[in-house]
Each structure stands twice: as C-alpha cells, then as structure tokens.
C-alpha cells in the first residue's frame, strides 16, 4: 500500500506562519490583551510585598485598606482583560480551524480515486476524523493555553528581574533540570501515548465486536477463544499504560522536585542582598511569591507541550493530503466525437506487481451490451476500472470516440461513463441531497420519476418525501434500497455508457432480484458493459467476452460461444445441470 504523504517539518512551519500572518491582527490583539491581563495579575503579590513593607514600617489601617482594595481591583482588571483576550483567541482559533477543515475536505475531494484506493480509505478516514480533530483542539485550546502560560511566565520572571537582577538570576535555578527532563520526555511521550490510545481502542473494539458477533460466538463455540483474545488485549493495554506511567514517573518527579529550587535560591540570595541592604524585605517576599505563582503556569505549559507536539504531528498528516497532486486537468478540451469504446493492447499492473492484464483488445459499439465473464482474479474488475478511466493502462490505450478516456476532463468523463460497483454509499443528508449531486439541475419531479423508474417503492412511505433525512440516527436504508438510490442517481446523471462491476453481488438473492429489475429500467438505450456474475446475463448480452488470466480467451455472441464448445460452453452446460439434457 502506498500511504498518503505526510508533510515535513518545513512545510508545517510554513503553513503555521501563513496561518498566523493571515490573521496577523487577531493574533496581535490576543497577545496584547493576554499580556495586559498577566501584568494585572502580577500586581497582587507585589502589593502584598508592599503591605509587608508598610506594616513593618508601622503603617496605618487606612494604608492597608487602600492596598487591599488595589489588590481586588487588579484581580478584577486581570479577569476582565483575560476574558476579552480569551474571547478574541477563541474566535481566532475557530476561524483558523474552520479554514483548515474546509481546506482539508476540498483537498480530499480533489484526490484521484486511484491514490485513495492504493492508500486504503482507513488512512484518509483517520486523518479526517482523528487528525483534523486533534489539530482543532490544538489550535482552539492548546495553543492559547501555551500562549497564556508563556506570557505569564515571561512577565513573572521579568518582574523578579525588575525587583533585582540578581534575584532574577537566582530564579532561573530550577530551569536546567526542567528543560532537560522535558526534552527527554517529549522525545518518547507521543508514540507511547498513541500506542496507549490504540491499545485501549482495540480493547473496546474487542468488546463491541464480541457483542455484535454474539450469535457467531455461540454457533462456532468461540467463547473461550474470545475470552483468550480479550485477555491478551487487556494485558497489552496494561503494558502500554505502564510504559506511559514510567515516562510520567521520571518526568513529574524531576519537574516537581525542581519547582521549589527557584524559591529557595531567591530566598538565599535575597538574604544576602538584604544583609547588604541592596533590596527591601518586601521585594524578597514578592519575588518568592512570584515564583510560587509561576509554578502553576509552568505546570500547565509542561503538561500541554506533549499535546502541542501531537497536534503538530496531526497537522503534518492533515497537510500531507494537500501534497498529493490533484487529478490532472485534461490536455485539450475539444470534445471527443462518437461514443465508441476502443481498447488497444491494454496492459496493466498494480504498483510494482505483475501485469494483471496482458494486452486486451476490445471494441464496444454504442448501444451494445457486452458481458464479461471469467473466474475470480482474471482481471475483470481491473478491466472495468480501465474502461471507466479510473486507472490508465500501463501500455496500450482505452479511448472513447477516439480520445483516451483518461484525457477527458474528469467531470466530463463521469457524465459519459458511469461505473456501478457493489459498493453503494448513502450520504448523510436528505434523499434530495443523495440525488441532486448527480444532476444539480434536476427538478423534484425528475427525482421522483427517477426513484419510480428504479422501483424504489419505499419512497412512498417516507414521512417527508425528498426531505427525509437518511443515515445514522435517521431513516436507515437497507442494502437493496441503498442500491436503488444509487441507481436513481444514475438515471439522473444519464451517462451513455454504463459499466457494471458485479453491482448486485453483495446482496442476498431476493434483494438482488428486485435490484436487478430496477437496473433493467436504467439500462434501456445505453451502452452496457457488465462484469457478469451469473450466466443469464451473458446469455442475454449481445456479446460475451471470457476473460482468463488477464487475456480475452473467447469473444462472441452467446450462441456462437456455445457452438464453439470452449470453456464458456462447458460452464454453460454445467450451470444448466440436467436441465439441458432433455
């Protein structure tokens, strides 16, 4: 599997710089407001120091009252300023996150299907849910917290410097050990926490799937096996937790043991300075209190750094999606003439593998029905993808009306050729939402008519008609209903060529029968290439192509092939059983 790319550090930094410079003013306002709030927050310890000095000097009650009132005023001012700072920061975060996720979705929608398939949709799904959310929390909550903490710390330490430079130097005593252990911790933390998260998600999944598959557990008597499986999961969660706990043990013991160092050093140096009358007692007390106050933002900063690091990693994965070159626009825009599908010498291999198709030659006339049959692994689905222009042949050409299909503008190509597979997806939204994207100009009347054409009689029972919400927590469609919805989309999209890749194979037989009836209505008057799963299809097609090991071994009408008495004829007879012998 070729995984989707991940942005390197430089790209992430550039993206961050871009984001900040786009919102330059907002960022500036946030910083100024937070700075002002932190400054106001510095006042109380300083005022307390003043109180200490004044009381030592024998102050009156009135002075104390005034100073106490000043403390209260500063607390209020700080709270108000930080409120507006936080609000401004919040708005900035929301805007930035909204931009980011919209950009992500736009880029995802622009990804060539072949890239997504090769990378596996799981990777992209994780990026769209986990990573986008992680970046969101980072921008909305983590970054502001870190910014506030940094501003507060800068001001607190700055204040100690202002009280006396030597006190300031003493205050830095605890930093070396904290910095060292933080670096040590950050190098290991993210992967350990990710592993812990993954392990506990697996345990939850084990519980959920055991519940979902309870009938199977009973039928196959898998009870002991499930318990054994779960017990290993529990053990692995426990191991992962122990690993993160070990990291925290080292990190927090060093950090917490370092916290009192600045206070202690300031008191010692303060004592020395005091003995030479270089500072007042109040100044030393204020410095000690500032440093005591610094513990809390420092703690916050350290705790969130790991989160920020994870946000950075997620950001790199989110940006990575944008690094995939989008589906290339067509070389020329001249519309192709005619609708004849021609395949000449097409060979194809999936990345780095052996050829799956070894030189296919095929011509399909407009309005013709061609059935492609053959055993699993013969390359039928690959051929369908080449015909639909999803993959380009490694060698040879697939063209429609004389133009290679991969050269057509993707939108144009989709209007002409539609590929129907057994996958059907009901989008979250209303029935209308699920239909309109195939033909944006379709009227309600046309949509209803399309639903009627494919035999979607369940539509009549919907409470709100086209506006009925579908999907999780709303009206759930069964497999057949979903497939009918997909077919109604096709009726609206009105392509002239349809490629059916075992469109109903995943449905149970009676559902398949109903769907197939609906499908017949869609096929009238179009070119149809059906990857056939059952032989009736082949019997009724204009021509049958038998594909084996990536080559067309037989081609012709059903009767011709039966008469030729080759592999197809043998299969046909065996399928008939004794019915034929009469």
């Amino acid at each position: 599997m070729n995984r989707l790319p991940v942005a390197d550090r430089g790209t992430v930094r550039r993206a961050l710089r871009d984001m900040i410079s786009r919102h330059r003013r907002a960022v500036g306002v946030v910083l100024v407001l937070h700075g002002a709030a932190a400054l106001a927050g510095l006042a109380p310890p300083w005022l307390l120091g003043t109180i200490v000095d004044r009381v030592t000097a024998g102050a009156t009650v009135a002075t104390v009252d005034r100073l106490a009132l000043a403390i209260a005023g500063c607390v209020l001012a700080s709270a108000l300023l930080s409120r507006f700072a936080q609000y401004a920061g919040h708005r900035f975060g929301e805007r930035a996150v909204a931009e980011l996720r919209e950009q992500f979705v736009t880029r995802t929608l622009g990804l060539p299907v072949s890239v997504v398939e090769r990378a596996g949709s799981g990777d992209l799904a994780t990026r769209s849910s986990v990573d986008v959310a992680t970046v969101g929390t980072t921008v909305r909550d983590v970054v502001p917290t870190i910014v506030i903490a940094t501003v507060q710390l800068t001001l607190l330490f700055g204040a100690v410097f202002l009280l006396h430079p030597l006190l300031g130097l003493a205050a830095l005593a605890g930093l070396p050990s904290i910095v060292a252990v933080t670096r040590w911790y950050l190098r290991r933390a993210s992967s350990a926490y990710l592993r812990e998260g993954a392990e506990s998600a697996e345990l939850t999944e084990t519980l959920t799937t055991t519940a979902e598959g309870a009938r199977t557990v009973e039928a196959l008597r898998l009870t002991d096996e499930r318990v054994r499986h779960g017990t290993t999961r529990v053990t692995r969660v426990w191991q992962a937790r122990r690993a993160t706990l070990a990291l925290r043990t080292v990190f927090f013991s060093v950090v917490e043991a370092s916290y009192p160092l600045p206070v202690a050093m300031v008191l010692l140096v303060g004592g020395y300075l005091l003995s030479r009358d270089m500072v007042s007692l109040g100044a030393v007390v204020a410095a000690a209190l500032y440093l005591q106050q610094a513990i809390e933002p420092l703690d916050r900063l350290l705790q969130w750094t790991e989160q920020a690091q994870r946000g950075f990693a997620s950001f790199a994965r989110v940006l990575g999606v944008g690094l995939v070159p989008p589906e290339e626009p067509p070389g020329t825009t001249a519309p192709s003439r005619g609708q004849r599908l021609v395949v000449r010498g097409a060979r194809f291999s999936y990345a780095g593998g052996h050829d799956v198709l070894h030189g296919i030659d095929l011509e399909v006339q407009p309005g013709e029905r061609l059935a492609v049959v053959g055993p699993s692994g013969a390359g039928k689905s690959t051929l369908a993808r080449l015909l639909a222009g999803i993959d380009a042949p490694r060698r040879g050409v697939v063209s429609i009306g004389g133009r290679p299909v991969t050269d057509l503008d993707p939108a144009e190509r989709r209007r002409r050729i539609a590929l129907v597979t057994q996958e059907h997806h009901v989008f979250i939204g209303t029935v209308r939402d699920n239909l309109s994207f195939a033909a944006p100009d379709a009227t309600d009347e046309q949509m209803r008519a399309a639903l009627a054409t494919v035999g979607a009689d369940w539509y009549a029972e919907l409470p709100d008609g086209l506006d009925t919400a579908l999907g999780d927590g709303a009206r759930q469609l069964g497999a057949a209903e979903a497939q009918q919805l997909a077919l109604a989309r096709l009726v609206l999209a009105d392509p002239h060529t349809l490629i059916l890749d075992e469109a109903t194979a995943a449905l149970d037989p009676s559902t398949a029968r109903r769907t197939e009836r609906a499908l017949a209505a869609v096929l009238v008057g179009r070119t149809v290439i059906a990857i056939a799963h059952r032989l009736n299809t082949a019997h009724d097609a204009d021509r049958v192509a038998v594909l084996a090991d990536g080559r067309i071994t037989e081609i012709g009408s059903h009767d011709d092939l039966v008469a030729a008495d080759g592999a197809y004829a043998a299969l046909w007879h065996s399928w008939h059983g004794q019915a034929d012998e009469r």
Binding site: V97, A211, L220, V263, L267, S510, A512, T537
Partner: protein, 577 residues
Amino acid sequence: MRYLWWLVRRQPWRVLRGSLLGTAWMVGLSARPYLIYRAVDDGLRARDTRALALWVAAIIVAGVALSYLGIMRHRTMTFIREDAKARSAEVLLRQLSRVGATLPRRSAAGEVSTVGGSDIDWSAQVLTLTGPGVGAVVAYAVIAVVLWSISPVLALCVLLGVPAVGLVVGPLLRRLERAESVYRRQQGALTARSGDIVAGLRVLAGVGGRDLFARRYAARSQDLRAEGYRVGAVVSWIDAATVAIPGLFLAAVVWLTARMAVAGDVTIGELVAVYGYVATLIVPVWFLLEGSHQLIRGRVAARRIADLLRLGPDDVGGPGRRWPGGVPDARHPHAVAAPTGPADLHDPVTGLTVRAGRLTGVAVDDPAAAEALADRLGRYVVSDTTWGGVPLTGVALDEVRARILVADHDSYLFAGTLRDILRPGADDEQIRAALRTASAQDIVDALPDGLDTPLDAQARTLSGGQRQRVRLARALLVEPEVLILVDPTSAVDAHTEARIAERLRAARAGRTTVVLATSPLLLGRADEVAHLSAGRITATGTHADLLDQDSGYRHLVARGSDETGAGRPADAEEAYR
C-alpha cells in the same frame, strides 16, 4: 454501588497504600507556605543567615519529598484504576462471550460499546476517591488546625470561605461543560460528514458532485464556527469568573490578615503563610467537589455494567449448558437425551425432513423464511422440530451447538489473522482442505502474508465474494455432524460456484448437510432438493425432477440466478427450454 465496592475489595492493600500516600501528599502541599513563612520570619526578618540556610534547605528537601509522595500517589492510583478497568473489561468480555445469540435481541451493540468504552473508565475513576479523596479530608483538617493556631477568626473565614467559593464556581464549570457539549455534538456531526465524504469518495468519483459536497461541508463548517463564537463568549466569561472569584476571596483574606498585622495580632510571616494556605487549600476542596461529581457519574456507569452482567444466556425454552444430559428435572421437565448418532431432522412447520448423511438442497422463495427455517433447525428458537424423533428443544443446548452448525450468510468475522478467523489451532492440512473446498486458496495467495495476514473485523478489505468463501471455509473446518449453510455462494461468480458445489459434495460425503439456496449449480449437486414455497414444502426430488415438474421451482431457480441484471429477466426462463 455494590459493583464499585467489589472493585475496591479486589485490591485492599493497594487502596490502603493509595489513601496513605494521598493523605501525606495533600498535607505535604501545605508544608511549603509554612516553610517559606519560617524562612521569611526567622531568617530574613531576623537577619539570621544560619536560620535562613536551614529553612531554605528544608524547602528543598520538602520539595523532593513531596515530589516523591506525589509520584508514588499517582502511580498507586493509576494501578488501582487500571486494575479496576482490566477487571471490568474481563468480566464484561466473559459475560458477552457467554450470553451468545440472545444478546442482539436484548441489547444493542452500540450500548455495549459505551459500556465497554466510557463506562469502564468512569467506574474506575471513582476509585480515585479512595486515595486523594481521603487525603483531601485530612489535609483540610490539618490546615484548619494550623490556621486556628494563628487566629481563630481567620481560620473560620478561610475554612468556610474556600468551600463557599468552590460551591459558587463548581456549578459555573458544570454550565461550561454543558455549553461545550452542544458544540461538541455539532462538531461530531461535522466530523461524521467528512468521514461520510471519505467513505463515499468512490461514489463521488463515479457520478460526480464533488463541488456540491465541498460547498455543503463548508456551509456546515461555517455554522459550527458561528456556534463556536457563541460558546466562546459564554466560556470566556465563565473562565474569567472562576479566576476572579477565588482571587477576590484571596484579596479579602489578605486585607483581613493585614489589618490584624497592623494591630499586631499576627506576624508578617504569618501574613505571608495565610496567603499561601488559602492558595493551597483550593487543591483539596476542588478535589472533593470534583470527586462528588465523579461519584455520581461512576455510579451510573457501574449500574450499566451491572445490568449487562445480569443478562443470562437464553435457554430458548430448553435445558441450558451446565445441565447434565438427558434426565428431566424440575426446571426442565421436557428434557430428553440427544440421538446418539447421526439422525434425521424434521421441521413440522414446513414439513421438511433432512435425511441423515445426505446433502439436502432447499430452494426457498423468501429469504426471511429461509432464515426462520435455519433458526428452527439450529435451535435458535423454540419450535417443534425433532431430531431422530426427539424434540430438539428438549436437548441440552451445548450438545446441539456441538453437533449442529448453522452457517449464516452474514455470520460475523472477528478481527485477527486469517488463520485465527478460520479456526484457531487448526493445522495447515485441515485449513488447506477447507480452503480448497471453498475455492478460497486464491484469497490466501493474494494476501501479503498469506494465512498470517491480519484482517479487520468483518474482513472489510475483502470483497463480498471473498468474505463469503472465508465464511464457508470456516464452517467446514468445524466439521459438524450437521451443517446448515444459508446462501453460501450468492456473491460468488459462476465459475467458482460450480467448483464449490462439486467440492462441497465430496467434502461432506456421508455427513448431513443442508444448503438453503436458489442457485442451480448448488441445487444440482444435492442428493435431494425440496422446494419451500409460501411456508410449506411443495415438492421434493432431484434438481432435474423439480425443474421438470415444478414450474414454480423452475421460475425461482432461474430468476434467483440472474443477478447482474444486464439481461432481460423475462427471457431468462426460456434459457432452460
């Protein structure tokens, strides 16, 4: 609550150690303000260098000791929580595996996943109360005593004031949580939408409409942004209040203490210490408030776990598992012994008889009827089905499960390596044989690590036809006395199906096998075929006989086979003439 108590009693010594460490740590938190106050009073103010050095050393030592206590407390509490989580997960898993087929009828899988995810965490979280919870109470008392020694008036103010502040701020935080929860829900819906787009990318690539989806998503995203602004306005006010209220309280305490210092009732050092105590006291008080909240949530979670544990396996009207075979007792008056060897199964509802040792095909016009029939034959429901003449419902369930296997077309594939999915512990020879019968060797060959390739739950990376063949191979590996296959090849192409039909017959030669299907390839290989129409068996015979004599059967088998639909169904029947 009893469940929570059980979790505590599993680890009494650890809980005790947690309480002691929690207490020591919380009390230790108040040591630093005291030491700073002594350093200021005895050292700085008295200009006594020796005393200053002594107290400063004490601050450093206390810091190291506190960090040790803190981390040990954290470790112990983590172990306690993890022990509780592991225990909950294990009992739940045991229970889920034991309850079996009746579980889907009694509780939704979604419910189980909440229990398995957040409820386990919440109930384990409650155990934290045993450590720092006890510590918080003790620390509060210690600080109360120390403050009392400085000034009873101050002590009263602080001891009542801090909880009062907590009580004011606590509800504010709850409101904050609520405001955020709306936002989070909306955010979850938006994430679901982008996931939806990712899942439907292929459809969008096939039919078009990318721009429309991008625009729709952007509109929702803007809605969320607007909601975010609204939340931000509320949240920032609440945050400001949670900072301002304790701050103002602290200012009031300072003011009161300073006035006392002016009057000479307290020393300067004590003034500084009081300031520190008030700040320190916030920790235990917060903890108690937070703890009471956790207790409420944890109890709800524990109740949900207990409810799930109370579910019993359903005996579907007959004797259960641990019941010794064959003898009627008070609880199971209709108990009977199972037939000792292979025996015929008879279903009076439809009139179907499955002969022992033969391959029986049943063509059913309605999939729901096929499932109901399989449920009766496999004793998933109470019925009058007989097995060798005795009522199947009277036979011990364990014995039925051991001897009769119903292989549903949608049976669950658990995550694991392909080997584990097929049959844990089976040897390569058996696996190879089963894969051959199910014509599934090519699936293994295509996987990067063959049999040892890990697959997701429900093997989502495989195609429908591949999954179906894996399920078939799995059922074959069980080698049950009676194998009932429901639509085993509906998603498989005709070439492969022909091979499977041939090999299945050989692999199950001499053993009872029932195939519920409408495919002529499968039915053509059966010893005997029954046509089930409108709930009754209307005809039996060989496939050829039925094709000849039963026009309904002919119709069913022909139509059931045409699945791609590119053909004209009306003509299909003529193919047989």
